[in-house]
C-alpha cells in the first residue's frame, strides 16, 4: 500500500504538479477570453461588419431573446431528443449487429463488402429518399442520425470483439465453455474499452446526423435555426445556435468520459 506520510520533497513535487494543472486551465480559459475579446472588439469597432461576423454580445442577446420568447428550450429539446434517440438506436442496434457478425464468421464474410460500401457512402445522399419514406418530421431526422452512426458502431464494436485475446478464449475452451459463455464471460467484458471508444465517436456522429437531418427536413431544432438564420441573413441566430450546439455536444462527450471513469477501473 502507498505511504501517505509524504516527505517534504514529495509535497513540493505534488505542489508543482498542482500548479502545472492550474496553469493549463488558466491558459485554456485565457485562450477563450482572448478569442471572444478580439471578436467583440472587431465587431464593436466595426473593423468587419458585425452583420456578417456577429459578435459574442450579439450572440448572448440572441440567446436571451430565444429564452424570453420561449422558443430556446423548444428547439434545444427537439434536437436533443432526435440526437439522443438516434444515438441510442445506433449504439444498441450497431452493437447487436456486431455481436451477430462476431458469432457467425460466414455472415461476417458475406456482409463485409456491404458494410464497407455503406461506410463510405455519404449518408446525405439518401436525404431525398428519407424524406419520401418518413416525411419531414422527427422520425426522418432520427433515421438519418441512426444511419450516420450505425456503421461506425458496427465496425468499432466488431473490431473490439475480434480483438479478444486468443489465449483467454483457449483457456475458456479448455474449461469446457460454450460459445455463449465465451461471449458473455470474456468477449463482451473485454470489449468494454472499445464500447466506450465507440460511444465517443458516436456522440459526434449523432450530432452530425441530427443537424444534417434538420438541414434537409425540419420545422424545429438547432439545425433548423441555423438554416433559417442563414436564409434570412440572421447571422446572430446562426452563431447562437452553433454555440449552443457546441455546449451540448461537449456536454454529451463529457458524460461518456465520466461513464468511462466509472465503468473501467482496471486496465484491460
Amino acid at each position: 500500500m502507498k505511504n501517505k506520510n509524504y516527505s517534504g520533497e514529495h509535497l513540493a513535487f505534488l505542489k508543482k504538479e498542482k500548479k502545472n494543472v492550474a496553469i493549463v486551465w488558466a491558459a485554456r480559459v485565457g485562450v477563450l477570453a482572448l478569442i471572444l475579446g478580439v471578436w467583440e472588439l472587431i465587431a464593436q469597432l466595426e473593423l468587419v461588419d458585425p452583420f456578417i461576423i456577429s459578435s459574442p454580445s450579439r450572440i448572448a442577446a440572441m440567446i436571451g431573446e430565444l429564452w424570453s420568447n420561449g422558443s430556446l428550450f423548444y428547439h434545444i429539446g427537439t434536437t436533443l431528443w432526435e440526437t439522443l434517440a438516434g444515438f441510442a438506436i445506433a449504439v444498441v442496434l450497431g452493437s447487436l449487429i456486431a455481436l451477430a457478425l462476431w458469432w457467425s464468421e460466414r455472415a461476417r464474410k458475406i456482409l463485409e463488402p456491404y458494410i464497407v460500401v455503406l461506410n463510405s457512402l455519404p449518408k446525405i445522399a439518401l436525404g431525398p429518399v428519407i424524406i419520401v419514406w418518413f416525411g419531414s418530421g422527427s422520425s426522418a431526422i432520427i433515421f438519418m442520425t441512426v444511419l450516420v452512426g450505425i456503421i461506425v458502431a458496427v465496425m468499432n464494436m466488431l473490431s473490439g470483439f475480434l480483438a479478444t485475446d486468443k489465449n483467454k478464449i483457449t483457456l475458456l475452451r479448455s474449461m469446457g465453455a460454450s460459445k455463449m459463455q465465451i461471449l458473455t464471460k470474456l468477449v463482451i467484458p473485454s470489449a468494454l474499452p472499445e464500447f466506450i471508444g465507440m460511444l465517443k465517436i458516436c456522440v459526434g456522429m449523432a450530432w452530425i446526423g441530427s443537424i444534417m437531418g434538420e438541414y434537409i427536413a425540419s420545422k424545429a431544432g438547432l439545425g433548423y435555426l441555423i438554416v433559417y438564420g442563414g436564409q434570412v441573413f440572421k447571422l446572430d441566430l446562426v452563431m447562437a445556435a452553433t454555440f449552443i450546439l457546441c455546449v451540448l455536444a461537449a456536454g454529451m462527450y463529457f458524460l461518456v468520459v465520466l461513464a468511462e471513469k466509472l465503468v473501467i477501473k482496471h486496465p484491460r
Binding site: 483467454k168 483457449t170 483457456l171 479448455s174 474449461m175 465453455a177 464471460k185 482496471h266
Partner: protein
Amino acid sequence: MNEILDRHILSFKDVSLTYHTKEGETLAVKGLDFYVREGEFMAVIGPSGCGKTTVLSLAAGLLKPSSGEITVRGRPARESAGKFGYMLQKDELFPWRNIEKNITLPLEISKKNTPENRQRALGLAKKYGLGEFLRYYPDQLSGGMRQRAALIRTLAPAPEILLLDEPFSALDYQTRLSVCNDVYSIIRGEKKTALLVTHDISEAISLADRILVLSKRPAKAVAVHEIGFEEMSPLKRRESPQFSVWFEKLWKELNI
C-alpha cells in the same frame, strides 16, 4: 515406483495431427506414443516450434487427432471434459474480475459453482497465500502472485490432470525460480498428475519425474527418461550434481 503410479491416466497411442491452411498442410505430430502415470509430474521438451503446445491441445481435447487415439483412464479424451486443468504461458487472469472471481471462474463455466466447491477453491487460495488478496484485482498483484492465482484457478474445479504450457516463461528469472518452487510444492501437495511442456531443459529437470523428448517437427517421441530426483524441490535439484549430467544428456538428444 509404486503400484498406483504405474496406472496410466493419460495415453497417446500412435497419434498424428495434420494442420490444414490455405497455404498447405503441415504434419505437426507423427505417430506419437507416450503415457502419463497417475500422480506423476511429466515434462515434455523439444526444439522450439516442434509442436509441444499442440500435444497439450490434443490432450485437452481442443484439437482432434488426424489419426491415433488419446485416452484418459482408458476412455477417449474428448469425453473427458472437466478432467483437465490448463495453465498457459501468461496467467490470463481476467482484469475486470477480482482474484476470488477469477479463481472461481472454472466453476461458473462448468456450472458447478456450489457453496462447497467455492469453499474448496477459496480454501486452496488461503492455503497457498492468496487469502488476503481475494478482493484484489490482477493489476494490483505481482507477476509471481498472479501466476499462483492462475494455478489455484486451474486447481479450483479439482481436475485430474494439469496441463502446463510453459507456465513460467513470461516471468523474470528470479520470480521464475521461486514460482517454479511454489507450483511444484502446490501440485505435489494436492497430489495432482501434471503434464508440463517447456523449451527450458533445466525447468523440466527441476520439476519432472519423467521427461519425454520430442523431435523436430513433425513431433515424435525421441526418448523418455526417469529423472529419479524423487521428492527433491526444484531449487534443491538445481544444486545436485546429477542436474548438469541430465542437462547435457537432454541437450544432446534435442539435437538443436
